[in-house]
């Protein structure tokens, strides 16, 4: 692969990669270990979602809380999933990707603030992961250029994920969680649900826009099927 091609490939995931670098920096405290990362821990404490301090005006915490994590395991798992999904979905979501993440961050923080008053503190990017998964898979599902089998796959992924979110929201326990998560505090289904809602909001908006933009094709009465767009 030429340098230009490599650069072009990387540019498709630039927000994902940039976010990954930012995550690595802010979670250096967890990566380096407790004893060597006091400065990072102090920084994390300034960034985490802290209900009391947000109410006192530190509203940046609504956004920055997603970028810090409770432990190395928590960070590794979240970052792995975020990057993997970002690579798949960022090219699909396109230019709106950064905006979607930003809006989702604020919306999730706000939802926690308004709807979960017993939550004192929160850290983790999983809410945003939910947004990108729902929006990304949804866009694939509604992509008219995709084969039905591939669409079926994305539909299956979306269904499994929605079931997971519903299960967690109803029963308030993690669904099929890995034991590596360890001691990271309260499981917060509302953050996941908030992420899903933002993803769905963007998805519906996208479908509506696309429907308006798409030229209407009159269906002939004789059952003739017009030639469709080229298959993926």
């Amino acid at each position: 692969m030429s340098a230009a091609a490599f650069k072009a490939t990387l540019s498709q995931f630039k927000i994902t990669l940039l976010t990954a670098l930012v995550l690595c920096f802010f979670n250096a405290g967890s990566i380096l270990g407790d004893g060597q990362a006091r400065w990072f821990q102090a920084l994390n404490a300034l960034m985490e979602y802290d209900r009391a301090l947000i109410l006192k005006g530190e509203i940046w915490r609504l956004f920055t809380g997603h970028l810090v994590h409770w432990s190395a395991e928590h960070f590794y798992l979240d970052a792995l999933v975020f990057v993997a999904q970002g690579i798949v979905f960022e090219p699909k979501i396109g230019r709106a990707y950064a905006q979607v993440l930003g809006i989702a961050g604020g919306a999730i923080g706000l939802a926690l603030l308004l709807l979960q008053s017993d939550l004192a503190a929160y850290r983790g990017i999983s809410g945003l992961i939910n947004t990108q998964l729902v929006l990304g898979t949804g866009l694939f599902v509604f992509d008219p250029n995709l084969k039905r089998s591939i669409k079926g796959f994305y539909m299956a992924v979306l269904s499994v994920h929605m079931f997971k979110i519903a299960y967690e929201t109803v029963f308030k326990v993690p669904f099929f969680v890995t034991d590596a998560l360890g001691d990271m505090g309260l499981f917060t289904p509302l953050a996941h649900l908030g992420g899903v809602m933002v993803g769905l909001y963007y998805l519906l908006g996208s479908i509506r826009t696309e429907a308006k933009a798409r030229p209407r094709i009159e269906m002939p009465k004789c059952g003739f099927t017009p030639p469709g767009p080229s298959r993926d």
Binding site: A52, V88, I150, V173, T178
Partner: protein, 745 residues
């Protein structure tokens, strides 16, 4: 091409499933359910042992106590508990067994007997030394005997001797106590296990007085009596406990909640209900806590009387004065959070401690001052002096709290000494000391004695009990002596919710200078004396005696924020009343409590005599009186050897970390390895501790979140998300590769 796509997807899927399976194979739960946060994780290697131990606990002959059943009858605010303990001698020798078990700290034990075969041998209360002497004599003569002694108000020892080979003995113990009341909520607690306590001090030269794992020390001279041995880690107790509670609330019951256990609830009428354990008998490894809410808004919540012919009558009343009080108009306060970060607080309690303390800090007013002191073997103060409760200082304080981790011993007394200092002239503001702890220490008396010093009058003490089996005696007495109140955070509780309730209570004005005008009634020996201060939603529970019957309007006066308030209620003291015969016993226990509190840690001979007389008159167990039951009809049998074995206790829930492999054989906590317990606990439990800066303003830092509900949210992905992500990545890559191939073909 399609076949190739399918093959690749199948391969990726299989690989991922395999990887996920492999990743999960290290840990499973006992019941096979998916591992979720907050569940105990058991390494595979240990699972077989534990599963085996669940089916067949350990070699059968190690278990002597076979079953315990508690039948509880609650009438109004009084609970009567009937305990039935079934012991079995699994040996071919005579057996002496010693069982150290807990009771509520305000329980009055007023009946004891044991049954062997068809014969019931009833106990009588005698002076402690006398009862012990009779027991030893019976032991020598081969007679069957039972002895029930009090070690602490909440720890009792039952000794049964000369149980014949392979025989079964059923011991019956009865006690009464009053419930704790918080507003409309009534709390019944049934302790099941004595948790291991930290024993500070230097070993004494004499031998130990008991058979426990700890040596007696200068600070805890009876340490060996309050430190029973435990079932080895990974194994379960040989007996379960069944609890049935019949409630006759006298007021409409609105809700019943099992705080610590799942309950099966059968409602009788509007005011009655029967409650039992939903899943049958349970492992006795934590307190059973039941809360119920009643309706009704009257000032007089309950009134009970008892009067025999020609005797003084007894009465108990529960009053909740109704006043429309506003939240306190910010009288400046000094608030100290004294936080226990010892090893026994590890796990859920330390997470709850963080959540509770952080929330309390967040509720301070700008004119308040505060400090935080964390203690284990060492003291770690947030600041060298009180800091103003500015947003910056509070945020820094919360950072300090978040960085706290649990390890080491529980040196509570030095921490209290550090915090309670005589007031200087300019320090005339209210000072509230909130002690968040499981209080698992053996030196209760020196701690309470220190709190009792008159020079600390400006301090009010608010203990908050944590964990599965806290030291309720120390918690309740500290609150009483410190003119505060206590709260309980069970492992299942939401710490932040309780912090909210706590903060609300201390922000309402306190009713002080209480006095009662009994009108025409001749009331005497009223307890508690002096009358305590009254907090919002906390009722006044009074018990006293009367000579003559009569009815009158009783007037309770008090002072709220400088304003005199008056509550009136009608009281009828009958000439004869046979019901509520436990009132004399409850009164005697309350009187003993009052006598003890005044001289705690240094009881004079005169007070000892008074307590002994009360014990003998009312036939209750005290520090100086015990129940003794001896079979006298049948001559003793000395034909077999006598074997002595303790009943091993279940390790309290969440405290497995205090026990390790090296102590398995002994069933002792890890701080019991050498005669000098205190420093060993510190070494044995020492873990890398991230301590916040020792002085001045702490750097906000958080190394990890607590596992507490309501504290820190973890926005985290789970196994499904990981699986889906890798699948997505794989399928997307495969699709792109295949499309490219197609394009070039």
């Amino acid at each position: 091409m399609l076949k190739l796509t399918k093959t690749i997807m199948l391969f990726i899927g299989t690989l991922l499933l395999g990887l996920t399976g492999a990743a999960r194979a290290d840990y499973v739960t006992l019941d096979g359910k998916p591992v979720t946060q907050g569940q105990m994780l058991i390494a595979d290697a240990g699972l077989a042992k534990l599963q085996a131990s669940t089916a067949v606990p350990t070699p059968t002959d190690q278990f002597i106590l076979r079953q315990t059943a508690a039948e509880v009858e609650i009438t109004g605010v009084v609970a009567r508990v009937r305990l039935r303990q079934v012991f079995e001698n699994p040996y071919d020798e005579r057996l002496e067994t010693i069982y150290v078990f807990p009771m509520p700290e305000n329980a009055a034990v007023d009946a004891y007997s044991f049954r062997i075969g068809e014969k019931v041998i009833k106990g009588v209360v005698k002076k402690k030394e006398e009862a012990r002497k009779e027991y030893e004599q019976a032991k020598q003569e081969g007679r069957k005997a039972g002895l029930l002694e009090q070690e602490r108000p909440d720890i009792f020892t039952q000794s049964l001797v000369n149980i014949p080979p392979r025989a079964t003995v059923v011991a019956n113990i009865e006690y009464v106590h009053t419930l704790k009341i918080d507003g409309a909520h009534y709390l019944f607690s049934f302790p099941m296990v004595v948790a291991p306590r930290y024993i500070p001090g230097q070993p004494v030269a004499r031998g130990n007085v008991g058979r426990g794992w700890a040596n007696d020390t200068d600070q805890v001279p009876d340490a060996s009596k309050i430190t029973p041995q435990y079932i080895p880690p990974g194994m379960r107790a040989g007996h379960d406990i069944d609890v049935t509670v019949k409630i006759d609330a006298g007021l409409p019951i609105q809700a019943i909640t099992g705080v610590t256990h799942e309950l099966a609830i059968h409602k009788g009428s509007e005011t009655t209900a029967t409650v039992s354990l939903k899943n049958g008998p349970v492992i006795p490894n934590k307190d059973f806590v039941l809360e119920y809410k009643v309706g009704g808004q009257s000032t007089m919540l309950a009134a009970m009387t008892h009067k025999g012919e020609g005797e003084d009558g007894f009465f108990s009343i529960v009053i909740q004065p109704k006043h429309s009080v506003e939240r306190q108009e910010v009288a400046p306060r000094d608030i100290v959070l004294l936080l226990d970060i010892s090893g026994s607080m590890d796990g859920t309690p330390i997470g709850q401690l963080r959540g509770f303390a952080e929330h309390i800090l967040g509720t301070l007013n700008p004119q308040d001052r505060f400090n935080i002191v964390a203690f284990n073997n060492d003291l770690d103060s947030f600041a060298s002096q009180y800091l103003q409760a500015t947003p910056e200082n509070i945020a820094n304080g919360q950072g300090f709290i978040r960085a706290l981790r649990s390890s080491g011993g529980t040196e509570m007394l030095p921490a209290i000494r550090q915090v309670l200092k005589p007031a200087s002239e300019e320090e005339n503001r209210h000072a509230y000391v909130i002690i968040v702890t499981d209080a698992l220490v053996g030196n209760d008396a020196p701690i309470l004695n220190h709190l009792n010093q008159p020079q600390f009058g400006r301090f009010r003490i608010y203990p908050v009990a944590m964990g599965s089996a806290p030291n309720d005696y120390l918690i309740q007495r500290a609150a009483e002596i410190g003119r505060g109140f206590s709260m309980r955070i069970a492992n299942e509780d939401n710490a932040v919710e309780i912090a909210k309730r706590f903060a609300a209570k201390i922000s309402y004005p306190i009713m002080t200078d209480l006095a009662i005008d009994w009108g025409q009634l001749k009331v005497k020996d009223l307890l508690p004396e002096p009358l305590p201060d009254l907090y919002a939603d906390r009722p006044l529970v009074l018990i006293g005696r009367y000579e003559k019957s009569g009815a009158a309007k009783v007037k309770l006066t008090g002072n709220i924020s400088g304003q005199k308030v008056v509550s009136e209620f009608d009281l009828d003291l009958p000439a004869s009343e046979t019901a509520h015969d436990s009132l004399p016993v409850l009164w005697a226990r309350a009187r003993i409590r009052q006598l003890t509190n005044k001289e705690i840690g240094n009881i004079s001979n005169a007070t000892q005599e008074k307590i002994t007389a009360l014990g003998l008159t009312h036939q209750i167990v005290t520090d100086y009186t015990s129940f003794i039951a001896v079979e006298r009809d049948i001559p003793g049998d000395l034909s077999r050897n006598l074997r002595t074995e303790p009943v091993l206790l279940a390790i309290p829930e969440g405290m497995d970390h205090l026990f390790n492999d090296t102590t398995q054989a002994q069933g002792q906590p890890i701080f019991a390895q050498t005669p000098h317990n205190a420093p060993v606990m510190a070494q044995a439990e020492a873990r890398p501790q991230v301590s916040a800066p020792p002085t001045a303003v702490g750097t906000p830092s958080r190394t990890n979140s607590g596992g507490s509900r309501g504290l820190g949210g973890g926005g985290s992905v789970g196994g499904v998300s990981i699986l889906l992500s890798v699948l997505l990545l794989g399928v997307r890559s495969a699709t792109i590769i295949l499309n490219r191939k197609k394009k070039y073909n």
